[in-house]
């Protein structure tokens, strides 16, 4: 009898240790992924967005120039099509978003209330490009390990979050994000982002992201070219004045 009790307790202890070890490992992997993503201090690039309606195959192309410092300061200035030319958005810390429509010559602050939704017809919502590391926003769980990747489930720490969970596929050697699947609170798969990377100055930079929205049957392919990183972008570039003026 004593032996049995001992075995059961030992089993529980062993399981707890394995579980804790697994959790630590998952946290470590996610933290390393964050390091890859957040290792870039600033970035400029030309962006081409191809918006594809999967129901009828119709494509719509938009082009913009992006400037980014850290992950909380970002400016998008559209150059194509002609009708969007000059339209710009500025994201500042605290999820503040400003919009400039050149023909109206005024800057408007867009409420953070809308940032769960898609912007300018793309399948990326503002929540999809978090300004904080994933490890701060999500609790990871290691689901599987393949020859080349780790598969983590990320559960949001916040009670009310636009997604129920994320499933991240992370490269085993370089720790960059290969694929991110977005699930609803009820576990239905909503979207999937597939990343392609390019090594610039020893940093892995995503130069192509394909986001597929299974529910809306829509896809957005974002292709970055002319990427420059860590050039020491000045904070002055990320101001409302510059949003109007278009200083590069």
């Amino acid at each position: 009898m004593k032996t049995r009790i001992f075995l059961i307790v030992a089993g529980f202890l062993l399981l707890s240790v394995i579980k804790a070890k697994g959790q630590e490992e998952a946290k470590d992997i996610l933290s390393k992924m964050d390091d890859v993503i957040f290792s870039i201090k600033d970035k400029t690039a030309d962006v081409k967005m191809v918006l594809i309606n999967l129901k009828n195959g119709k494509e719509n192309v938009k082009k913009a120039v992006i400037m980014q410092k850290g992950h909380s300061k970002k400016m998008f200035r559209y150059v194509y099509p002609k009708s969007d030319s000059g339209i710009a958005t500025l994201t500042l810390p605290g999820d503040q978003i400003y919009l400039y429509l050149p023909l109206f010559k005024s800057v408007k602050k867009i409420s953070s209330n809308s940032n769960g939704g898609a912007f300018n017809k793309s399948d990326f919502s503002l929540r999809d490009t978090p300004t904080k590391p994933y490890s701060e926003l999500y609790t990871p769980k290691l689901e599987a390990t393949t020859d080349t990747s780790y598969i983590l489930t990320l559960i949001p720490k916040a009670d009310k979050w636009v997604y129920g969970k994320l499933v991240a596929t992370i490269d085993k050697t370089q720790y960059y994000l290969e694929k991110l699947e977005y699930y609803s609170q009820k576990g239905q798969k909503l979207k999937e982002a597939v990343y392609h990377y390019k090594k610039i100055d020893s940093h892995w930079v995503a130069d192509k992201v394909t986001m597929t929205n299974a529910v809306k049957q829509h896809k957005t392919v974002t292709i970055m070219s002319n990427i420059k990183i860590n050039t020491g972008l000045n904070d002055d570039l990320f101001t409302i004045e510059n949003l109007k003026g278009g200083k590069k």
């Binding site: 559209y78 969007d84 429509l101 109206f104 602050k109 953070s112 209330n113 009820k186 529910v215």
Partner: protein, 767 residues
């Protein structure tokens, strides 16, 4: 004719086994039987109103809107809002749902100085935590013109969760899933489902319930009546079995042809039960009446009498049903015609082949003097109904004709008072959830029937958008429209948000920049196409009466005439217009089907009697009955709808049977008796008995429909029973009176030889 009787007797076991095997085969097909009760699916696709309506569905993500209505003291109470969010989230994730709009996800444009909010109306910042906060929020939300009266009632006591269905998805299966899902949520507030898909579902539910509930009652009732009439188990089993097999075979083939039951064809089992049993009743009655000592001889003799009338009555009934295939506008009515015609055919076939075979297998003991042994003779019908009736007809033939003429005259007045109703929401009793939902939608949300004004042109053109806004104002000035939505509203609102007023900018480039903000919000894809070449104004139509849509259409056409469009076109469609089209077509198809049925039936009956005049005589009772039927509909306010529209042609097909049986029997009797009066009396007692049994059982079968949850079905049951009363009484009073008057005239004109077939010598001499 004897040959058929011999075949039935000789191959009785083969017939029995074959019927059994084929019934098992057709019965198996019923496993695949489906119900489709959507009227729009049944409309011809090439109809201009329908095709535009369908185009709206394809281009703007669903012309079919569904809605869940929630009712409470304050729908902004935290508990209710949580429920709204649960439903909204579940619907958003459901396959088959294209878009969902509710209080918890509806977008709102707010401008406060340079702050510009394109966000959710109710969000984390203003989500109420208690009743007090909910009351404050109610004041704000019900004051918002974009949502009040649209998604929340102006008093805050009701809200709707509006959704559109994915194109090509099974809308009804998705609606059923939604119903099941909401039921499982155990909501504390009252909830209702609205929109045509749910109405169709309710109709389908009621159809299934009715089939399960009413058919057994109908069977039971008919069985009781048959037992009381024949006083034998065989007299109950054979007619019921004949009808049941006919239903089975017809439905089996119907399924194999890929057809679906509708709110019209679901009546066929009851119709076949009533009609189909009649053939067996007549055959059985005749076999029982035959004096031959053995069963085989009785069958041979009875069939020699019955083949022609049964085949002919089946043919005329089939003509009544088949007239819908050629005359009807709705596919569901054409399908009904085919199914009922097949059922009638099989019922007649079984009556002439299967019933004799069964009697040959299970012969009844026969009386010494002939005739089948019944436990009790049934003198009541003969003594108290048929005999007095025949004596009255013989004595007072002119009075009988005068009474019928008077009834006819009154009916003509009623015919001009007939109303029409095609709105499915009118089909339910007032306390049925569908009716309650409709009432809430009408009272609190300006109606539930969508109207679409389709603009075809450049949807970023200031000219087009300004016209849209102007037309919306014009529409809201009519008493039928309280809310409208369009992309022009969104553009004007955004322009306002950019500080340039709630108007459409005059510069197209500015509109294009505003479009940047519109993004791919789901609500926008419902208002404008992806190519920006079409846009719609969505409005809800609140009608109060049958003529409203015509008045509204005239009002809209006036605007279109006064404002000719330049580089764009404007068209209007929507459920009320589809209903209006249906309404017009119902009347046309009804008249056409009826004319086809009348002409064909008169031709067939004339061919039988080899005389057009006699054919016309035989048709008079049913023609009078149909006139009286319409008269009653007009005088009592029973409307003409997709179900009651069938009554006249069905009555024509079934009702003529009585006259055919009567005249057919009379032609046989006149050969055996010396007096026309005796022949009439004998016909009334023998054939009249079958007619009476058939009338009572058919009427009872149909009257069961008064317990239906669908109002048109109740009317349908009453009207068929009334038409059976009319045509049986016509055959038993008007027809013999005409025969008696006609013969007297012939005699007066010394043309007695041609009176009716061959008269006996005594009659020819005027004895």
């Amino acid at each position: 004719m004897e040959k058929l009787a011999n075949i039935a007797i000789r191959y009785r076991w083969t017939i029995f086994v074959m019927v059994l095997l084929l019934s098992a085969f057709f019965g198996y097909q019923l496993k695949f039987l489906k119900v489709d009760s959507n009227i729009v699916d049944s409309l011809p696709k090439d109809d201009t109103v329908v095709s535009l309506f369908n185009e709206v569905g394809q281009r703007f993500g669903g012309n079919e809107m569904g809605m869940i209505i929630l009712e409470g003291q304050n729908v902004l109470d935290p508990q209710v809002l949580n429920d709204i969010q649960r439903i909204t989230d579940s619907l958003s994730e459901m396959n088959g749902i294209l878009s969902v709009t509710s209080l918890t996800n509806i977008m709102n444009i707010e401008v406060e100085g340079d702050n510009f909010e394109v966000g959710k109306l109710i969000n984390d910042n203003n989500w109420p935590q208690n009743r007090q906060q909910a009351d404050s929020l109610r004041k704000v939300v019900t004051a918002n013109k974009m949502v009040a009266g649209n998604i929340i009632s102006t008093d805050g006591t009701a809200t709707i969760i509006l959704f559109t269905f994915q194109e090509n998805d099974d809308v009804h299966a998705v609606s059923q899933k939604i119903m099941d899902m909401v039921k499982k949520m155990n909501l504390t507030e009252k909830y209702y489902f609205g929109g045509s898909s749910f109405l169709t579902l309710y109709v389908a539910d009621v159809i299934s319930d009715d089939l399960i509930r009413l058919i057994p009652i109908s069977f039971l009732l008919i069985s009781v009546i048959l037992f009381m009439s024949f006083r034998s188990i065989r007299g109950v089993v054979l007619p019921i079995l004949t009808a049941a097999l006919a239903i089975l075979w017809a439905l089996g083939i119907f399924v194999m042809l890929g057809m679906k039951l509708s709110m019209v064809s679901n009546n066929v089992p009851i119709i076949i039960l009533a009609v189909g049993s009649a053939y067996a009743i007549h055959v059985l009655n005749r076999i029982n009446q035959c004096k031959e000592k053995n069963t085989r001889m009785a069958i041979v003799k009875a069939l020699s009498f019955m083949i022609v009338p049964v085949a002919l009555t089946a043919l005329t009934t089939m003509v009544g049903f088949l007239s819908f295939i050629f005359g009807a506008y709705l596919k569901m009515i054409r399908d009904f015609g085919l199914l009922a015609a097949m059922g009638t055919f099989f019922a007649a076939m079984f009556a002439l082949v299967f019933v004799p075979a069964m009697i040959a297998i299970f012969p009844a003991k026969r009386k010494k003097g002939g005739g089948a042994v019944s436990r009790h003779e049934n003198p009541i019908m003969t003594k108290y109904i048929l005999l007095p009736l025949s004596r009255m007809v013989i004595k007072k033939r002119y009075t009988v004709v005068t009474v019928w003429l008077l009834l006819f005259a009154v009916s003509i007045v009623g015919i001009f008072m007939i109303k029409r109703s095609v709105d499915v929401s009118d089909y339910f009793k007032p306390n049925y959830p569908a009716s309650v939902a409709n009432k809430i939608m009408a009272e609190k949300f300006g109606g539930s029937k969508p109207v679409f004004v389709v603009f075809k042109g450049d949807m970023q053109s200031p000219e087009v958008l300004k016209r849209m806004l102007d037309l919306e104002k014009y529409m809201k000035n009519s008493p039928y429209i309280s809310n409208t939505q369009s992309i022009a509203d969104v553009v004007a609102k955004l322009n306002d948000a950019m500080g340039e007023g709630n108007v459409i900018p005059g510069d197209e480039a500015k509109i294009q920049q505003l479009w940047f903000l519109i993004g791919q919000q789901e609500s926008v894809s419902r208002l404008v196409t992806e190519d920006l070449d079409q846009g719609i104004i969505i409005a809800k139509f609140n009608d109060h009466g049958h003529n409203d849509i015509k008045v509204f259409n005239d009002y809209m056409q006036k605007y279109f005439r006064e404002h000719p469009s330049g580089n764009y076109s404007i068209e209007i469609t929507g459920m009320p217009f589809v209903n209006s089209q249906l309404d017009k077509s119902l009347l046309r198809s009804q008249l056409f089907s009826l004319v086809i049925a009348i002409v064909l039936v008169i031709i067939i009956v004339s061919l039988l009697f080899k005389s057009f005049i006699k054919g016309l005589y035989a048709s008079l009772p049913i023609l009078a009955t149909i006139a009286i039927l319409y008269g009653i509909m007009g005088l009592t306010g029973i409307p003409l709808n997709v179900v009651t529209v069938l009554v006249a042609s069905i009555a024509m097909g079934i009702g003529i049977d009585y006259s055919i049986h009567f005249v057919s029997h009379f032609n046989h009797s006149i050969k055996n008796y010396n007096s026309i009066k005796t022949a009439v009396e004998e016909t009334m007692l023998v054939s009249g008995k079958a007619i009476m049994i058939n009338f009572i059982s058919v009427s009872a079968g149909f009257l069961v429909l008064v317990f239906s949850e669908l109002v048109p079905m109740i009317y349908f049951g009453i009207l068929i029973a009334l038409s059976m009363l009319g045509s049986s009484m016509g055959a038993l009073t008007l027809l013999p009176s005409i025969i008696l008057i006609g013969v007297r005239k012939y005699k007066t004109n010394n043309r007695v030889n041609n009176s009716l077939k061959e008269l006996p010598d005594s009659e020819k001499q005027g004895k």
